[in-house]
């Protein structure tokens, strides 16, 4: 049952990806314009650090960790195993995210051999109940740095709010995406992790395809947002 739900989710994300792919001839910001350094550096691997939790939900950090490996891998990059990474960092005594986030990116090359290190802040992770409706919001901010140059490769703010009673999800592609996913999960119990999946998917389908993806080095022209 759960598997079906995820399959439906994956299918809707891919449908959205295909839609953006087909719209490549329209004027807009392309991947090549949005991420020039990614094409220049051509990184192979991404290390995701344990997230900094600024939301009111104490569990958000742990749950977010369970959603991040897949979208990065599906985009074609090598992603370091989350559970091992966070445990190893704990053992090395740098589990305090404040400390972790103050370290320069090249340190993570020394230890993990990672090309890119990703810092994530969970800003919001909550549900608001109203008389007739309830909605879920997951808001994430992330920044990625090159471990070779310590330069920022990209940053991203993503917020997903889903009205659980109707399927309104806002305008544009993002709205469509949320709508599609909203429909897929509407009947099931509301689950934060589903929304973290959506927020992640939005970020990663915009990124240039990594070395394990068939579109690697050929997707500079794909339009990801309106000009």
């Amino acid at each position: 049952m759960k598997y079906g739900k995820i399959a439906a989710l994956a299918a809707s994300i891919f449908a959205a990806m295909i839609m953006t792919g087909c719209a490549a001839h329209n004027a807009g910001i392309s991947k090549g314009e949005a991420f020039p350094q990614m094409y220049e550096e051509d990184p192979r691997s991404i290390l995701v650090l344990p997230a900094m939790n600024e939301s009111t939900d104490a569990e958000a950090k742990a749950y977010y960790a369970t959603t991040i490996e897949m979208p990065i891998a599906q985009t074609g990059y090598y992603v370091f195993p989350m559970e091992m990474v966070s445990d190893v960092l704990k053992q090395e005594g740098v589990y305090d995210t404040e400390l972790l986030y103050s370290m320069s990116a090249d340190k993570f090359y020394d230890y993990f051999g990672a090309d890119v290190v990703m810092y994530t802040r969970i800003k919001k992770w909550d549900v608001s109940y109203m008389v007739l409706a309830s909605s879920l919001t997951v808001t994430i901010e992330s920044e990625a740095y090159s471990t070779k140059t310590n330069e920022k490769l990209w940053d991203y703010d993503g917020s997903v709010t889903v009205d659980l009673t109707s399927n309104s999800g806002g305008g544009g592609l993002a709205g469509l995406l949320v709508q599609a996913i909203g429909t897929a999960i509407n009947t099931a119990a509301a689950d934060y992790v589903e929304y973290a999946h959506v927020a992640n998917a939005r970020l990663f389908f915009a990124l240039p395809a990594g070395p394990y993806h068939p579109a690697h080095r050929t997707d500079q022209g794909v339009v990801i947002r309106k000009r």
Binding site: E69, A73, Y78
Partner: protein, 129 residues
């Protein structure tokens, strides 16, 4: 002759379709099976049963790796599996899967070597006491 010409005409079209993503089947690069859900359940409650369920989910995803575009086992899956064996005290299987991760994804070699070294040290310590 005619067929050859048709092929020539169709090939660029197919190439364009592929590049734009219009022709990609709605199938993922890797098959994760129920890994994410089982990991989530384990995070909610780090019991031995949930660890076992996660191990089973990973084993199944590895078995069904062919049901994906890449036909490969997803990044991190062998490593995550090895780590579960390590938690269960099976260092031999742990190292085996860390080596598998390394050979399938050379990007992990640096990290896996470090982890294998740690396992060896833990083994040596265990043997002495």
């Amino acid at each position: 002759m005619k067929l050859g010409m048709m092929m020539k005409a169709l090939l660029p079209l197919a190439a364009v379709a592929l590049m734009t993503g219009c022709a990609t089947k709605p199938q993922a690069l890797y098959n994760y099976g129920t890994y994410s859900e089982s990991y989530y359940a384990y995070k909610q409650d780090t019991s031995a049963e949930n660890l076992l369920a996660m191990q089973q989910a990973i084993l199944t995803a590895i078995e069904n790796a062919n049901e994906s575009v890449s036909k490969r086992v997803a990044p991190g899956m062998y490593a995550n599996l090895g780590y579960i064996y390590f938690k269960q005290g099976d260092t031999k299987q742990a190292v085996h899967y860390f080596e598998m991760e390394k050979s399938l994804y050379p990007e992990s070699a640096h990290f896996m070597d470090r982890v294998i070294e740690k396992v060896r040290k833990a083994e040596a310590k265990g043997a002495k006491s």
